[in-house]
């Protein structure tokens, strides 16, 4: 059971309070009618599924209810960073290097 920091509540809580929302920074096209089928499948289903450091969404569903993002190493499950929704994706390579991943 992971230990997750909610950047809104500013506490670490057990994973059971949270719902994972999958890979982060996959924006819904702002004008879907102008997207191709390829673009749409990328938005809907294609995921980088990275083995290593990646950014994902979490929602503090049994807490403040907010979505936020986290950078996690999918090999060790260690979190490297938590940040609020809307903030830009951090430099994953830099975070990985810093954490020695």
């Amino acid at each position: 059971m992971l230990l997750i920091y909610c950047p809104y509540c500013q506490v670490k809580r057990a994973e059971t309070e949270f719902h994972c929302g999958g890979e982060a920074h996959i924006a819904r096209p702002s004008d879907p009618s102008k997207t191709t089928d390829e673009d749409w499948v990328d938005f809907l289903y294609t995921r980088s599924n990275i083995k290593g450091v990646y950014a994902e969404r979490w929602r503090h569903i049994h807490g403040c209810g907010r979505f936020f993002n986290a950078v996690r190493d999918t090999v060790s499950d260690d979190f490297l960073k938590f940040y609020k929704a809307g903030e830009p994706m951090p430099d994953l390579n830099a975070l990985a290097a810093e954490a020695g991943k």
């Binding site: 230990l3 819904r28 009618s33 089928d37 569903i61 979505f67 809307g86």
Partner: protein
């Protein structure tokens, strides 16, 4: 009352309290403080079980949780728990134990024939045979194998014990309470840090409880233990957990502990949990799990009476039990000598110390000589004699050539052995740490920490009492500092005696016997011999994981803690690769076998999953209603009157609704209040339908898709004000609809000024449906004009019901005139009972979900999740009308445009009428064009809903059929095992096609 192997004095048992127990029905005696194993040994009983594969007689080998042989069943409350380690079972009055894996008795076991046939049963033999004739595998061979395998018998009766759960946080968790663990606990506790100390044994102290020849601060170590424990128990920041095994080390410093609360008690209070799961988040962890002694892999090393030297010492010093009268000590290291000395000091005849080393330390030799013990250096055990108990051992002399020369035979009734020590790295390994090979110690030791932990003392290969204490203090201090930044000064104890020993060996020992005839066991429980490991390598199993799986070594209930190192060495020799290159298999949780009930915890019966009940629940129970489970809810399914079955009750309920009036509890439907200036814009984007022009006071049916374009939910949405909507969802879909809305709102459209609030539980909802619905509610409603003109179909108004504020919807899921009254939940029961009494006056009836399904099917309304299954688009469902054509976007709009969602041949929602109006189709039945389709014919679709319709006095069905909308009037077939049923494709509305009944 004789316990012939009990010492005169000494040990930590309570000699004043004698306990009676039975083993295989035989009445025996022991003392408080005994384990079942020590009590059996005190009675001279070594033979306690039969091995897994060859059914060989087996005795107690260890004094700890790693015991491979002494697995017994314990009877309690008329049922038995299998596979308990006798070394861990604390004795209580009238304890009943039975041996396992033998038939008819432990002494005479027919399964022992396997031992004679063992040449036919090498590792992996079953992969090479039992293939002919083919049908014999699961009919003949497998049942035989299954009944021969297994250990104890499973419990027969439901377990009525209760299991507890405790979540805990601490600064420092210390696992193990030997010298290192106690020192670490003290050091951490002195800083004020919150410390939890757990130990799998009943008493704290670990190895300190079995030493006879050392002191701490000038005192007997066990006295230092009690003083330390006394001190720790007085500290508010310390939690002491005896009988508690740290069995799992998970991500983010989460450690699971199993506390055995009542198992050691004769008559535990039923209010106490049998066991308690501790789920601990520790800032820092100190692993002080110690080390375990390694058996020597010599031929016939499994004879009852052959046991580990340290176990012999523990039984003597801790339990006051002599493991034999004539004991041979076979060793490769110094520590076992101390066992010989202690036994000699208690008057046991130590027939010899056979040390495989050419030159054991002089000081040990002189102590032995002083006690008159024969010392054989460069000497190895090459076999044992005796069947159910060792009688004698064969000795061999190691020659410089590497050969072994016979060294004669010595008589003994117990053989203590030690091949050296193996640090317990299980928890470290579970923490995802990588063990490293320490060639000097001949052991795998913890490598770099991966999580916030450190190993201390013997669990990292550090031995010697003083060194261990110092290391423990340092580990505790470091852990506390890392967790809290705090330090403290305190007095440290110093030890004398208990020096670290040297020596040790790995793998199969050399002997002068016929290698093909003798068995030197590596894994006792699974009957894996040195030969098996070599065979696996010979057959190409070169990965240690392959060797493990092929031979099953290390897969027994001790998870290889006793066997791994010897097996690895043998593999290493066969593979001609050094140990570290062979690698070590992964240690998995649990550290020792852990009760299922502990994991299940409180989740049983009604606490298995919350039972959600509506305010009408008790009334429904009182009126004979039957419930169905819909997600976590209990929903009234139907209301049978005396003598009615479900069919009759439903037929009556439906008819009554159509003819007069019915009352339905709609409280379970999800409700979401959407509020804010952008509320309409938000719904516009979420739902397929247009919302901006919906006037306050009016309702509209809303259809929700996912972005792939498939229907996921639906419900009626009422506009209460410009900026306020009351959204309803399906019962099961409520949580996911809410979560989906939050997702889009927060992450895609954070600029919208709108917020959503779940009000599912704020309101109790009663639906009154039927031609008399208006008359029924009229007496209780104030503040609203109920006339068709003022309150037309699909309206919503705020009003009061019996003076209670309510939201009154005029909507219908039956096709009849209908109202849904939402009152604050606390008034729900009043609402229901008032209406129930009122409808009775009008000849009405309460109705349940089944009738609701029938009534809506007569009208062709879909049920999401029954008529749709996540692959249905609005077009398929015949609901293109629900799509706002002019909308810029909504969830699912783009998905719907994908090629296969607009392709020909999609399955479309239709009605079906059987040619014979009495024949009711089965839901889920398949639909074909051919009357007698060949096997493998693709189905044209399937029946999604099927009922007897009281209104039509015939059966009706809804279905999805390929191109169904174009097939109206055509005949298709529903193939059933006893023949095809012809059906006609129809529209989906069977009753009141014009909707006249709604608009009254």
């Amino acid at each position: 009352m004789s316990q012939p192997f009990r010492t005169e004095k000494g040990g930590r048992i309570d000699r004043a309290e004698q306990l009676t127990f039975t083993f295989d029905g035989e009445e025996l005696h022991g003392h408080k403080g005994d384990t079942l194993a020590s009590a059996l040994l005190a009675n001279g009983i070594h033979l306690v079980g039969r091995s897994f594969k060859y059914h060989r007689p087996r005795g107690i080998v260890t004094a700890g949780s790693e015991e491979p042989n002494a697995l017994v069943g314990i009877y309690r409350n008329g049922d038995q728990t299998p596979n308990l380690r006798a070394t861990q079972v604390e004795l209580y009055q009238d304890l009943q134990a039975i041996s396992q894996n033998r038939f008819p008795s432990l002494g005479f076991d027919v399964g022992a024939v396997n031992d004679l046939l063992s040449p036919l049963f090498p590792a992996g033999f079953y992969y090479k045979t039992f293939m002919w004739p083919k049908s014999f595998w699961d009919r003949v061979y497998e049942p035989i194998i299954r009944s021969a395998a297994g250990l104890g018998r499973p419990p027969k009766n439901p377990d009525h014990d209760y299991y507890g759960n405790q979540y805990a946080h601490c600064d420092v968790l210390v696992v193990g309470s030997g010298p290192a663990g106690l020192a670490a606990t003290l050091a951490a506790a002195e800083t004020g840090a919150r410390v939890i100390l757990c130990d799998e044994q009943a008493e704290f102290g670990g190895s300190l409880l079995s030493v006879a020849s050392a002191s701490i601060d000038g005192k007997d170590p066990s006295i230092w233990v009690s003083e330390t424990i006394q001190k720790l128990s007085a500290m508010a920041n310390v939690t002491l957990l005896p009988r508690t095994t740290a069995f799992g080390y998970f991500a983010h410093n989460f450690i699971a502990l199993a506390e055995r609360v009542t198992e050691h008690l004769k008559d535990p209070d039923p209010k106490l949990p049998r066991e308690r799961l501790w789920q601990v988040r520790a800032r820092e962890v100190v692993i002080a799990a110690g080390a375990i002694e390694r058996p020597m892999a010599f031929p016939e090393n499994d004879r009852p009476g052959v046991m580990l030297a340290e176990a012999g010492r523990t039984y003597l010093n801790r339990y006051g039990v002599k493991v034999g009268h004539k004991v041979l000590v076979a060793t490769a290291c110094d520590t076992a000598w101390q066992a010989a000395f202690d036994l000699a000091d208690h008057g046991v005849e130590v027939v010899a110390i056979a040390d495989i080393r050419e030159t054991p330390p002089d000081n040990l030799i002189s102590i032995a000589k002083a006690r008159g013990i024969r010392v054989e250096a460069g000497c190895v055990v090459t076999g044992t004699l005796g069947r159910k108990r060792v009688k004698a051992a064969l000795l061999g002399r190691l020659m410089t050539s590497g050969q072994v020369a016979s060294g004669g035979q010595v008589e003994c009734d117990a053989l203590l052995m030690s091949a050296g020590w193996t640090p317990t790295v299980s928890l470290y390994s579970q923490s995802r740490g990588k063990v490293v090979w320490d060639a000097e110690k001949g052991a795998y030791v913890p490598g770099k920490p991966v999580q916030k932990e450190r190993s201390t003392g013997a669990s990292k290969g550090l031995y010697g009492l003083q060194a261990t204490l110092e290391d423990g203090y340092a580990a505790g201090e470091e852990a506390a500092r890392a967790a809290t930044g705090k330090t403290a000064t305190f007095t440290r104890a110093t030890a004398s005696g208990g020096e670290a020993g040297n020596g040790g060996t790995l793998g199969a020992l050399p002997h002068d016997r016929d290698a093909s005839r003798v068995k030197a066991f590596v894994d006792y429980q699974n009957d894996v011999t040195a030969k098996d490991v070599k065979l696996a390598v010979r057959e190409g199993m070169h990965s240690i994981e392959h060797i493990k799986r092929y031979t099953t070594t290390g897969m027994a209930t001790d998870q290889g803690r006793l066997s791994n190192m010897n097996a690895l060495q043998i593999a290493s020799g066969s593979l001609e690769r050094p140990m570290p290159e062979v690698g070590l298999t992964t240690f998995r949780q649990p550290y020792t076998p852990t009760t299922f009930g502990l994991f299940a915890g409180v989740a049983r019966g009604d606490f298995f999953d919350p039972v959600r009940k509506t305010p009408s629940h008790d009334w429904v129970v009182g009126n004979g209603g039957v419930f169905e489970d819909v997600s976590q809810w209990k929903r009234a399914w139907y209301f049978p009157k005396t003598g009615e079955d479900m069919h009759a009750a439903v037929a009556r309920e439906c008819k009554t609704v159509r003819e007069s009036v019915g009352l339905f509890d709609a409280s379970t439907l999800g409700k979401i209040e959407v509020v804010g200036p952008d509320a309409a814009e938000f719904l516009e984007r979420m739902y397929t339908n247009p919302w901006k022009k919906l006037a306050p006071g009016r309702c509209r049916y809303g259809l929700l898709l996912n972005d792939a374009g498939f229907i996921t939910d639906d419900g009626v949405i009422g506009r209460l004000a410009e900026d306020r909507f009351h959204v309803t969802t399906t019962t099961g879909g409520a949580p996911s609809v809410f979560a989906t809305m939050e997702d889009y709102l927060q992450t895609e459209w954070p600029d919208l000024d709108v917020w959503i609030t779940s009000t599912t539980e704020q309101y109790a909802v009663a639906a009154v449906q039927g031609p008399k619905a208006r008359e029924v509610i009229a007496p209780f409603i104030e503040g609203v004009d109920l006339s068709a003109e003022a309150l037309p179909h699909m309206s919503v108004k705020e009003a009061t019901f019996c003076g209670v504020p309510c939201r009154l919807f005029r909507i219908s899921f039956t096709g009849e005139l209908g109202f849904e009254i939402n009152v604050p939940r606390r008034h729900g029961r009043m609402l229901w009972e008032t209406l129930a009494a009122e409808i009775e006056k009008h000849g009405g009836t309460p109705y349940g979900t089944e009738s609701m399904h029938v009534l809506r099917a007569e009208k062709g309304y879909i049920i999401v999740g029954q008529d749709t299954d996540g692959t249905v688009t609005p077009h398929d469902a015949g609901m293109s009308w629900a799509i706002g054509k002019k909308k810029f976007d909504f969830v699912g709009k783009r998905g719907l445009e994908r090629p296969d969602l607009i392709a020909e041949n999609r399955k479309q929602f239709v009605g079906l009428l059987t040619k014979d109006p009495k024949v009711k189709l089965e839901e889920g039945a398949q639909i074909t064009t051919a009357e007698t389709p060949a096997t493998g014919t693709p189905a044209e679709g399937h029946v999604t809903s099927s009922y007897y319709s009281p209104a039509l006095d015939r059966t009706i069905a809804l279905a999805v059929v390929k191109n169904g909308h174009a097939l109206e009037g055509q005949t298709l077939y529903v193939p059933m095992p006893d023949g095809s049923i012809p059906v006609e494709v129809t529209g989906t509305v069977f009753y009141d096609k014009e909707g006249a009944r709604l608009n009254v």
